[in-house]
Symmetry: C2
Subunit: 211 residues, 2 copies
């Protein structure tokens, strides 16, 4: 039966992209789309699109294609975007603050509930009405407040310790921006954004453009 079995990471990584294009189509008032038309827009093969979607269910209709709005809803649900996520940010330097604003203004459903830093000059500061708390208050805070996602924006030296506090405090997922590979329990989802690695692979492609 569809939907059972393990879905590969490659498939999951494509889902948000499908959703973005469906979002655009909705805004443009498009009601239906075939895998072939979607392929022309998004750049994956029609075959891959049908394969990907059929991991989760038969959302299309032969001879018709896919209903844009219905498919958007399905993918949103699959991604778990039909509910809210409470988040905290640990490390409130430029990047931490940028993420606070970013999620505040653009990402409905992802709510920053608290921010923490070790730097006394940041503690007490308000960012989008959220006061930066002292790092030493983190354990207590997590004990009292159920948090879904912990965002790590510290330097790499502190990141593993922070991750452990977050895991102990029962977060369900960690969004890690520190340039280090964290070790966390399998129970906790981990998503890394290694900006440094990303910039370095860009350097690679720049250096090897004419090959």
């Amino acid at each position: 039966m569809r939907g059972s079995g393990k879905i590969s990471k490659a498939v999951i990584k494509r889902l948000p992209r499908y959703r973005r294009y469906l979002d655009d189509l909705m805004k443009r008032g498009v009601d239906r789309i075939s895998s072939n038309e979607l392929s022309n827009l998004i750049g994956y093969t029609a075959s891959q699109i049908r394969q990907d979607l059929n991991n989760f269910g038969g959302f299309g209709q032969q001879g018709y294609g896919y209903n844009v709005k219905a498919l958007h809803t399905e993918i949103s649900r699959i991604l778990g975007l039909d509910r809210d996520y409470k988040m905290i940010i640990v490390g409130c330097g430029n990047l931490g603050q940028a993420l606070a604003n970013y999620t505040h203004y653009y990402k409905a459903g992802f709510i920053v509930c608290g921010m923490f830093d070790i730097n006394p000059r940041l503690v007490g500061l308000k960012i989008n009405d959220i006061e930066v708390m002292d790092y030493s208050a983190l354990d207590d805070y997590l004990e009292k407040t159920p948090i879904d996602i912990g965002i790590i924006c510290t330097n790499k030296g502190s990141a593993q310790e922070v991750a452990e506090k977050l895991v102990a405090g029962k977060v369900k997922g960690i969004w890690n921006f520190a340039t280090v590979d964290l070790t966390v329990s399998d129970e906790v989802a981990l998503e890394n954004v290694h900006l440094s690695d990303s910039l370095q692979s860009l350097a690679y492609y720049i250096s090897h453009r004419d090959e």
Copy 2:
């Protein structure tokens, strides 16, 4: 012969990670390491490590392993980190400013030379001694100044236009943070950091943890 032929993206994505671990090993004073020891640290199989490295050359020695420092140097060179990259940032909101600071303090070799924004309240501001210039000055600036990397931190509506100005202005690579898939000439390297997509896949794994 080694080194010719196309290297897959999967391999390139692993290179910065190899480099990070070699960096650590150097700092810990380790001189040599076998693919098997490195495998235990980094989590790739020893076989994969040897395959990856042999895409670029035979850096090891039978019966000995790899010289940590020499391998670090080789990977740095392969990634193109043996030279500087001049960068500009377009879009100086929180994220743009955060990246300016990030590269300024942590990323030797990646130099922010200019920043641009359309918002008059940001124009004139100084971030790490770099004045934010008016977006209308971008074309002129690029005509006079050779820039390697353009960083796009605008909203998604402006990103494609910015990309086209950057390409016209002869940048070699684009580091894109806008949530949109840009169309650029094959001559220009493109690296996307889709924070929104990343957060959504984290939501997926949180929602499906117990399967």
